[in-house]
Symmetry: D2
Subunit: 244 residues, 4 copies
């Protein structure tokens, strides 16, 4: 039998601590709710937060993480560059990475994308409807043709990312915008999934469809034991009749 996927759910964990209303929604942090959902899907889950030593992401934790989930918002700048560099190296070596909502603007996502990852936003609690545009994609498993989030922060195009390698979900917003909300990227040996929903002021991570997409995303992003690329100076594999 295959081993359960080892997931680390990383959360900035500031809103829930500082804001009473948000704490009522997520008493133990958004990471706790996400972790619980993943455990329910049979995964082996830990959590880590910004204010822990090394942001909770020691070498030991990273080296035993198959898929890292990232939530950040107000404290992107406090994430230390050496930690970002280690996560980056791990992704290129094969670790999956799932960036949620405002993690679009995290250091790690921007470093992996090569663009600003900027976007439009609005916070009036409008309705969002997420349409599946890639019905055979593993991340769409168990979904209907669309699902709704009754009250959401709006994110609107242009979302300044490279063209996604696979585009799974497009959001419609009541106020007139669209957004590429479920985007897959390949980087090195790793897989990166950006998933839009999840503002801290709404109970979005309790919603079944949202949990389902995150679970599917983890399965899609889990490492596969492919070749370990080797770089540098190589002898010819074939006899060569060259001038060298």
């Amino acid at each position: 039998m295959s081993q359960p996927i080892r997931v680390t759910v990383w959360n900035e964990y500031r809103h829930e601590v500082k804001n009473e209303k948000i704490r009522q929604l997520y008493p133990h942090g958004m990471h706790a709710v996400i972790a619980e959902a993943l455990r329910g899907a049979g995964m082996d889950v830990r959590t880590a937060t910004l204010d822990q030593p090394e942001h909770g992401l020691s070498d030991d934790v990273l080296n035993t993480t198959d898929v890292l989930i990232w939530w950040g918002h107000v404290a992107h700048g406090e994430v230390k560059d050496p930690v970002v560099d280690k996560v980056y190296a791990r992704v290129l070596a094969g670790m999956g990475l799932i960036c949620l909502h405002s993690a679009h603007y995290s250091k790690i996502f921007r470093k992996l994308m090569g663009t600003t990852c900027n976007l439009k936003w609005r916070e009036i609690g409008e309705r969002e409807r997420l349409w599946v545009v890639h019905p055979g994609h593993p991340i769409a498993e168990g979904l209907g043709e669309y699902f709704e989030i009754p009250h959401a922060e709006m994110y609107g195009e242009l979302f300044d990312i490279p063209p996604p390698d696979e585009l799974v979900l497009i959001s419609w917003f009541q106020g007139g915008e669209v957004f590429r909300s479920g985007c897959c990227f390949y980087r090195g040996c790793g897989k990166v999934f950006y998933f839009r929903p999840g503002h801290e002021t709404y109970p979005i991570y309790y919603q079944k469809e949202v949990q389902r997409v995150i679970i599917n995303g983890v399965r899609w992003a889990a490492p596969t034991a492919g070749p370990k690329p080797q770089f540098g100076n190589k002898q010819p594999l074939e006899k060569v009749d060259a001038h060298g």
Copy 2:
């Protein structure tokens, strides 16, 4: 526990019957060797051939097939259009399809691609080396950076296909050509994988790396239970203030 993937290996099965030398290589047909490899990977495997009634692809067989493997060469024209149409509909509904070697020119592959799928070829038994260019892709699982086929029919670019949605393998040939040898395509709810190796005059389907890629391809192409798209006239989901 999840159910084993149900695979049907379809083979034209003419070379092995008519040509003594090929029959010695594949006494029960290439499909038998491929089927055996897939069974060894825990899959639930049947075979079907051109000269069976309905080419062995009755509604019942197709409706209980998760992934169909296709090998054809000299008798593409004998495959009846209604069978091709049924396979096509099944792929769009989610069935995986793996087209091997000369199946690049099968009716079903050309219909799904929308191009001629033509290419260059040469049969002098030269060496082929397949390089992995997408190391994190599930189809590259278990492979090294490259593998070799000691004697192969050459296929050369231009391979007249649409740009693959995912390109996993590129072949190098001793005589001076390259070829996109492992190509993934999404069509409707289905996944299509084209894999180049496999000429009937060489023991290529006994080779472990080749079997490994086919097994990986089946796992990648297996259907996922995503949304069932509905088409046609739809009422608005949202109140609309229109002139209608």
Copy 3:
């Protein structure tokens, strides 16, 4: 100086003939309005319609067409297969093709895509807003971040096409749907652009932004004098030490 691009605007031209209200909008057919816009951009433009001999698409016309624009709706089935086959061959040989609105369901578009190209639709004259999601793409030249069509037929996802090679526009509809409205595909040596707007009951083809996208699309899809692929049996370019 380079030669003007030679465009043929093909229109089914049935609605405008049979329906008084539509004729008032487009007295000489939608093709006449589109042709006029393209001429204003310096292009060399002809038109052709279904009821002309060979649908107006003789060998001579096709062989001197750089980009073909296609509009069809109620009479897809009347387009003769040999004409479709000739257009198909021309696209693969390098001719550009722009399919407008209900041409998503034309024989030629479906043949080039390899999928059903089906979708959802609704005709209540709701508002459409088209967002640019690929701002550096030549087809977005001269556009703002979005443009609106005040009254449009809705087309909704799932749009059953292969993942576009380049996705330029996504539509938002008042009633709650989204749609991939500007999609680029490469097929053989040719380029195909699907552009959604254009229902016959609205003056959409008079709208400046819509004309601009069609002009840009023609420029993007115009043939380039690249290699003429050759297929079939080829001698090795390199000395080969094979067993052959």
Copy 4:
């Protein structure tokens, strides 16, 4: 009439200064040969080098550059980060960038890709053959099905880049490797083209096919006057009945 494209050819310009043999090949630097070829194609061309103030890339130069060509090798580390950041911002704002040969490992290319951009290499002067796999692409204009470089440094896969948005050329090397040699990427409003050939010890930039690809690349990468994306907090375009 449209204005000529304004190109700046940037060269590290160290090999040609320090090494007598290389200076004989490129007495005024590789940039001079490339600039001459681009001028012959009607472009408005300047050059800039590492040892000039601000590496020759002042705000004024960058702001009046449509396409920047980059060649670097031994001195990537000497390129100052503020200059890299300015080039990066200009690319995202629409300036084209063409990275040649060992510029795969330049700071600017790696920053835009989000990966290491590492590869295999070997310097024995073997033969390279570049095959066109995207015959309708503007960068393939004027080429045959392949062209050869008689003596080249080998670059081999894995080339650690994101999957290219468009793959135009694949190299075959005599010694047994393949390489994705002509790769297009979209970043922000800008276009990036990586083109492999060009080692300093061979007269590769005098070769007509190589010059042709660079000229085509410049035309493909030239900015288009698309939308200027705006980011941040936006009012709804549509009336919203939300809880806000």
